[in-house]
C-alpha cells in the first residue's frame, strides 16, 4: 500500500510530534518512520520542494527549525520518487485538462493527483493501492472523483491515516485522539495568538475606549464575525491601540485571511470517531 502525503500533512505529522526538552528536540512518536516500516510513503519532487519552503512556518525556535530541517534532509528525502519526467508530465497534463482550475496553479495537490495516476498507469502499482493523504477539503472535493473513476485508491485525512495505523497496531487509539487534539491546537494557532495578545494588552493601562474596542475585537474574533472585525480595524480608536502594540494589526490581518474550516472539519471528525468508530477499547 502506498501513501502519498501532501506538504501540510508531513508538516503536521512532524510539528505536532515535536518535543522540546532542555533545549533538545526529538519526535515523540516518529509517525512517518513507523508508517514507513510497514507501508510505503512516497512523494513526488514537488512536495519535497514545498516542504523545504514551508517547514519553518509554525516553528518558534532556531533549535526546532534546525531539527526539522535535518530530519527532512535525512529521512524525508528517501520518500522522494525521482519520476520519469515524460511519463509524469503526461499524467500531469491529464489532470490539468480534467481540472482546468489547476492549469495556472501548479501546487502540491495537483502533483499528488498526477503522481497517483502515474504510479498506477506507468509504474506497476495495482489498483486501489495508492492513497492520497490531505486535510485540504478543496483538494479532497476536486480529486475524489478522479481517484474513484480511475481506481487509484482513497483520499484520506491525516486522522484517517493514523486511525488506519491504529488498526495495524502501529499506534494506539488513544494516541490517535491525542494527536487529533494536538492537531486542533496547531490549526487554531492564529486564533489563539490573537486572543492571547488581546488578553495581555487588556492587563495594561488603557483608556476605557481602547479597552472597549479590544473587547469588541475579542468577541468578534470569537464569533468569527469577519466583517465586524474589518470595521474594528478601521475604528478611530484602533490607531491608539496600534501605538501601544504594533503586533495586533498583523494578528488581526492573519486572522482575517486564515481558513478555519480545517478546525471545524477536524472537530466534526473527532466527534465522529468518538461516537461511530469501533475500537476494542470501547467494548
Amino acid at each position: 500500500m502506498n501513501f502519498i502525503l501532501d506538504t501540510c500533512t508531513i508538516n503536521n505529522l512532524l510539528q505536532v510530534d515535536l518535543f522540546l526538552e532542555d533545549n533538545e528536540c526529538f519526535l515523540e512518536y516518529n509517525y512517518l518512520q513507523r508508517i514507513q516500516k510497514k507501508f510505503s510513503i512516497k512523494i513526488p519532487p514537488k512536495i519535497y520542494e514545498e516542504l523545504k519552503n514551508t517547514f519553518s512556518k509554525n516553528l518558534n525556535t532556531g533549535n526546532e527549525k534546525k531539527f526539522i530541517q535535518n530530519y527532512i534532509s535525512r529521512y524525508i528525502c528517501n520518500y522522494v520518487d525521482s519520476v520519469d519526467e515524460s511519463d509524469f508530465e503526461s499524467s500531469l497534463n491529464f489532470i490539468k485538462v480534467t481540472h482546468p482550475k489547476y492549469v495556472n496553479e501548479d501546487n502540491g495537490e495537483l502533483h499528488l493527483a498526477a503522481y497517483a495516476l502515474y504510479l498506477n498507469r506507468y509504474q506497476d502499482t495495482l489498483a486501489f493501492q495508492t492513497h492520497f493523504i490531505t486535510d485540504d477539503d478543496e483538494a479532497i472535493d476536486d480529486f475524489k472523483g478522479t481517484f474513484k473513476l480511475n481506481f487509484l485508491g482513497d483520499i484520506l485525512t491525516t486522522i484517517d491515516l493514523l486511525l488506519l495505523m491504529s488498526i495495524y497496531g502501529i499506534i494506539s487509539f488513544l494516541e490517535v485522539l491525542d494527536f487529533a487534539l494536538n492537531l486542533k491546537r496547531q490549526y487554531s494557532q492564529v486564533y489563539n495568538k490573537l486572543i492571547n495578545e488581546i488578553k495581555v494588552l487588556q492587563k495594561k493601562e488603557l483608556t476605557p475606549q481602547e479597552s472597549g474596542l479590544l473587547s469588541r475585537i475579542y468577541n468578534n474574533a470569537n464569533d468569527f464575525n469577519l466583517e465586524a472585525l474589518e470595521v474594528d480595524k478601521n475604528h478611530k480608536i484602533f490607531v491608539k491601540i496600534k501605538q501601544k502594540n504594533r503586533n495586533i494589526e498583523n494578528l488581526i490581518g492573519e486572522f482575517l485571511t486564515e481558513d478555519f474550516k480545517k478546525v471545524k472539519i477536524l472537530e466534526k471528525k473527532i466527534s465522529e470517531i468518538k461516537s461511530q468508530y469501533w475500537d476494542l477499547s470501547k467494548v
Partner: protein, 375 residues
C-alpha cells in the same frame, strides 16, 4: 479627572484592580457569589480536597473573583461566620512564558505565600502541637525523605533573619550549588517536579492539619484555558505535576480552575488536558453566566452606591434607572467587563462635557463614543 461633579470620589467601574487591593469591591452577581461562598464554606468545614471549575466567557469576572477572595477580608468574614480557623487564598496565573513551567508555578506560589510566611506558620504549629508531633506530621505528609529534611531544617531555624534561613530560601528557589547544599546538609537540589509537588503538599497538609492553623488552603488557577497554547510537552508536564500535587494533598485543599470558554476549546478538550484523574475530581462547576438586564442594573447601582466611591449625601449620577436600562439595552450581550468599559466611557464623557447628571438625552449625544453601542 475629577468625579466630584457626579457625586463620586472616583470611577467605580474600574478596568484594572485598584492599587490598594483590599479595596476590591464585589457588586451584584449574587448567584455567582453564593455559589463560590458555598464552595468555600464546604472547604472550611469538611476535610476532603476538591477541584471546582469556574466556567464563563471572557470578562465574566473570574479573575475578579480570584482577587476578591484572595486580597480582601471577605474570606476572613466567611471563616468567622463559620467559627473556623483562618483560611488562606492565593491566585496564580497559568505560567506561559517559561521553559520550566512547574518551577514558574512554584515561584508564583512562593510569591503569594513566601518562605517567611511558611516559617511563621510552622512556628505556630510547633507551639500548637509540639515539636515532636510536627516532626511526625512532616514525615507523614512529605512522601519524600529529602523534602522532610528540608522542612525539618526550616523548623530548626531560630529566626528568619539568620544565615541558615537565607540559605534555605535560596535552596527553595532553585539554588543547587555545592556550597549551599553542603552547608544545609542536603544531598540534592530542588529541581524535580515531583519534589516540588511533595513540598507544596507537605506544607499545605501541615498548616491545615486538623484545621487548627488554617481551615483550608485555596488556590485559584487563573487562565487555565491557555493550557492549549503552552508548548505540548510543557502542558503535559504541568498537568502531571498538578495531578501529583492534588493526589498528595488529599485534605483541606480547594483548587478553583478558572476557565474562559474559547471557540476552539470545549469541555471535552479540557478533560483531555486534565486527564481522567483530575476530570473525575473536578465535578463541581460554577457558571459565571452573563448577567440579565436586571442583574446588571443591580450591579451598577451597588457599585455607584458603594461608600468607597460615593461621596456621602450625594444622589446617584444617573437621573433614574431608565437611563441605565437604556444603555444596557443597547450594548448587546452583557458581561461585567463590557458594562465597566461602557459606563467608564459614559462617565469620562460626562466629565469632559461638564455634565453632573447622566440622562438619556446625554447618552444619545455620545453613542458614537460608546464602543459597544449597537448601531
Amino acid at each position: 479627572m475629577t468625579y466630584e461633579k457626579l457625586g463620586l470620589k472616583e470611577n467605580p467601574f474600574r478596568l484594572t484592580p485598584p492599587l490598594i487591593q483590599s479595596e476590591i469591591v464585589w457588586a451584584g452577581m449574587n448567584e455567582v457569589k453564593t455559589n463560590i461562598e458555598n464552595r468555600i464554606k464546604i472547604a472550611i468545614l469538611t476535610k476532603a480536597s476538591r477541584i471546582v471549575l469556574n466556567w464563563g466567557s471572557y470578562g465574566s469576572g473570574k479573575t475578579h473573583a480570584s482577587l476578591y477572595y484572595s486580597k480582601t477580608n471577605r474570606l476572613q468574614e466567611i471563616v468567622d461566620e463559620n467559627k473556623a480557623s483562618s483560611a488562606k487564598s492565593i491566585k496564580i496565573t497559568l505560567p506561559r512564558s517559561s521553559n520550566n513551567i512547574v518551577q514558574e508555578f512554584f515561584r508564583s506560589f512562593l510569591g503569594q505565600y513566601s518562605l517567611e510566611d511558611i516559617f511563621l506558620d510552622f512556628q505556630k504549629i510547633k507551639t500548637e502541637f509540639g515539636e515532636e508531633t510536627l516532626n511526625l506530621m512532616i514525615d507523614a505528609y512529605s512522601n519524600d525523605k529529602s523534602i522532610a529534611d528540608v522542612l525539618k531544617k526550616l523548623i530548626d531555624i531560630e529566626s528568619k533573619d539568620s544565615q541558615d534561613f537565607s540559605k534555605l530560601k535560596n535552596y527553595i528557589h532553585g539554588d543547587s550549588t555545592k556550597g549551599t547544599l553542603t552547608s544545609l546538609g542536603l544531598p540534592l537540589g530542588l529541581n524535580n517536579d515531583e519534589q516540588i509537588a511533595n513540598l507544596m503538599a507537605a506544607v499545605i497538609s501541615c498548616i491545615t492539619h486538623e484545621k487548627k492553623i488554617y481551615s483550608t488552603f485555596i488556590i485559584w488557577l487563573d487562565e487555565f484555558e491557555d493550557i492549549d497554547t503552552v508548548n505540548k510537552n510543557l502542558a503535559d508536564r504541568f498537568t502531571t505535576f498538578l495531578r501529583q500535587f492534588i493526589d498528595k494533598t488529599s485534605n483541606n485543599l480547594l483548587l478553583f480552575l478558572n476557565f474562559t470558554q474559547k471557540t476552539f476549546m470545549d469541555m471535552e478538550d479540557l478533560s483531555s488536558y486534565l486527564g481522567e484523574a483530575l476530570t473525575s475530581r473536578a465535578k463541581a462547576k460554577i457558571d459565571f453566566a452573563n448577567p440579565t438586564l436586571d442583574e446588571s442594573l443591580i450591579y451598577i447601582k451597588e457599585l455607584c452606591e458603594n461608600e468607597l466611591f460615593k461621596i456621602k449625601g450625594n444622589d446617584s449620577p444617573f437621573d433614574n434607572d431608565e437611563t441605565i436600562k437604556y444603555v444596557l439595552e443597547n450594548i448587546g450581550n452583557l458581561n461585567a467587563r463590557k458594562i465597566n468599559e461602557s459606563f467608564s466611557i459614559i462617565f469620562e464623557m460626562a466629565l469632559i462635557m461638564g455634565k453632573d447628571k447622566i440622562t438619556v438625552d446625554f447618552i444619545n449625544q455620545i453613542t458614537d463614543e460608546i464602543i459597544a453601542w449597537d448601531n
